[in-house]
Amino acid sequence: MKTHGYGKYLWTLIITLIIFLGILSLSNYFDSKRIEEIRSVENGIALNILSSETQFALLSVTPCENLGNSSLTQELDSIGTRLEYLENTRGIDDPEVIQLKKEYSLLEIKDYILMNTVSEKCHAKSPFILYFYSNVDNCNDCKNVGTVLTELRREYPFVRVYSFDYHLPVPTIKTLTDIFKVKEQFPALVIHEKPVYGLKSLADIEMMMPELAKIASSTTATSTRR
């Protein structure tokens, strides 16, 4: 290395590039670890789908008291949050993210059908919300409704919120939007099987679903009595 020559500029560039490539590899390593975790979640999803189908089969012979919260539902929130994070870091066009979202959507629909069947059989009042968003036109209100629904789940853990990317190429989602006549207008919420559009606050949703407060107070009363 020549001390005062211009070769140092090249040496510096080579060293900086080596550090940059090292950083790139390190970042890719952590990403691959995440993908491994996603794969593991995917396997979990596959297993849960099987579990869900078995529960369907058992439903006709199983008493209501044995049908607690679906194990699927417990995982939905964490998978949903991870998906949102991955969408932000890897991008909405990432094939891994899209694949996971497809499987996640199917899982949600399975859970929705199962919980509807349970509600009907056991005459339980399980509030459902279907939420349709879009990544196509930079829908800011979708992000805000997402925040509202997350808080709603915190306040009322018994509410089942199922979120779907309207434009995800999954035929089952199309079937769902046809059933509930959901227009291409975002954000769209299906509450009491009727679509409502636009940004809604927590108070708006509580007003639209007065049963939330009743169920919450009865749950509190039950837990107090225990």
Partner: protein, 423 residues
């Protein structure tokens, strides 16, 4: 797909890392050269042992002290010069009162009968006119200037002399330090000046020093005959003169052990004002000397120092704007959330999955680590210690918040071509 913002962030971080690695490589080269020099000196000493020592031929030196309303510090400055370890018959001190409106002149009059100190009074014309006045009235081999708010180490001048043994060297810059820091702002500047000591030393190894600071740079008289006298130069005459020397392919050295102690601004307003003058002066002079940029004919000052300086200003502007936009977006989002869901606070649960491991984050980490390394090397050069101290913490935590203020103001002034005032 990468966004434009992401590409810009990565580009800026890459170039920052490049600049810092360039300086660190220079540091290793410098240490290597020092080791070789020491070994060579030992050989010479071994060969010359027994012979009588060669007498040192001291050159004559004039130190000009330009004063404008410096009644509080000028006496201390002159006394520190008088206390320098240098033959009295070879050193003359010349205080030039540049039309002060306070009691500076009456303070200077106490030296009227001092054979070592000459005092002059002239109409106010700016610092460069006071220094030029002193140069014109001097006859010494070497000429120096010392701002009237600075104080020299007794050995400062002695330690500069060896550099002048190279006839190509036209100026030797000192190591400027903050005098015993007392408050937070002074601690920040203390670390900053130490980083400056490191940078100036590194730049000197490849003749790329872009400023010959007012506090005690020593010039060969020949420098003024070859390139001319000081100019107003957007109130940063020391920066312009260095660039002018480079444009004549002349050499500027640095003596990192010739300590000069300066009195830093005492409040944020004064600090911003001083730095606006420096930074605007840098930008306007860089524009005036744009022919130096990326021109190998003028050496590394044009291929490294000036581009790196301009780049660092653009980078600070970019990251400040980027951070402000992000903070504002986050604030607006929080207000929207508050309207939608009310006030709710939830502790986030730590999970490795959500730890940010993007290339951007790792690049920031690399830039911060190399930056801190440079700060510690500066501390070592300036204070002789590696120990983490209050000045380093203050600098690392707060400098990034105050520097963008003067950089933004200076950039705006430079775009408008307006020269900031001295005071």
């Amino acid at each position: 797909m990468l966004s434009l913002a992401s590409i810009s962030v990565h580009t800026f971080l890459f170039i920052s890392l490049y600049v810092q690695i360039f300086l660190i490589i220079t540091l290793f080269e410098y240490y290597d050269a020092q080791q070789k020099k020491k070994r060579a000196q030992l050989t010479v000493v071994a060969q010359a042992s027994g012979s009588s020592p060669t007498p040192i031929n001291y050159p004559t030196v004039t130190v000009i002290v330009p004063c404008f309303n410096e009644e509080a510090t000028v006496i201390g400055t002159i006394e520190s010069l008088k206390s320098m370890n240098y033959p009295a018959d070879k050193l003359s001190i010349m205080a030039v009162d540049d039309g002060s409106t306070d009691n500076t002149w009456s303070y200077l009059e106490q030296y009227r009968n001092d054979p070592r100190v000459q005092i002059f009074h002239k109409e106010n014309g700016g610092k460069h006119t006071a220094v030029n006045f002193g140069i014109e009235h001097s006859t010494s081999d070497l000429i120096s200037c010392l701002d009237a708010d600075s104080f020299v180490h007794p050995e400062a001048l002695q330690r500069m002399l060896p550099y002048f043994s190279n006839p190509e060297v036209m100026a030797v810059t000192p190591a400027i330090k903050v005098r015993t820091p007392q408050n937070l702002l002074e601690y920040i500047q203390f670390a900053e000046y130490n980083v400056g000591i490191f940078l100036r030393k590194m730049y000197s190894t490849f003749n790329a020093i872009h400023v010959t600071p007012g506090p005690f740079t020593v010039f060969r008289r020949e420098a003024f005959t070859r390139v001319g006298m000081f100019k107003a130069a957007h109130n940063t005459e020391d920066l312009e003169f260095a660039l002018r020397l480079h444009s004549h392919n002349l050499k500027i050295e640095n003596s990192h052990t010739s300590f000069v102690f300066t009195t830093p601004p005492q409040n944020v307003r004064a600090l911003v004002k001083q730095r606006v003058r420096w930074t605007t002066g840098f930008l306007l002079n860089a524009k005036d000397y744009r022919k130096l940029f990326f021109n190998k004919k003028y050496g590394h000052v044009g291929t490294f120092t000036l581009p790196a300086g301009v780049f660092s200003i653009i980078m600070v502007l970019f990251f400040t704007s980027y951070s402000i936009v992000n903070a504002a977006t986050s604030l607006v989002q929080n207000v929207i959330n508050w309207n939608l869901i009310g006030w709710h606070w939830h502790w986030a649960q730590w999970q490795w999955f959500y730890v940010n491991t993007t290339t951007e984050r790792f690049m920031i980490l690399a830039v911060v680590i190399t930056g801190l390394f440079i700060v510690f090397i500066g501390k070592r050069l300036g204070s002789g210690s590696w120990k983490p101290s209050r000045d380093i913490f203050s600098y690392a935590l707060l400098y990034g918040f105050i520097a963008p203020v003067w950089i933004a103001i200076s950039s705006w002034k430079a775009v408008r071509g307006s020269t900031p005032r001295w005071r």
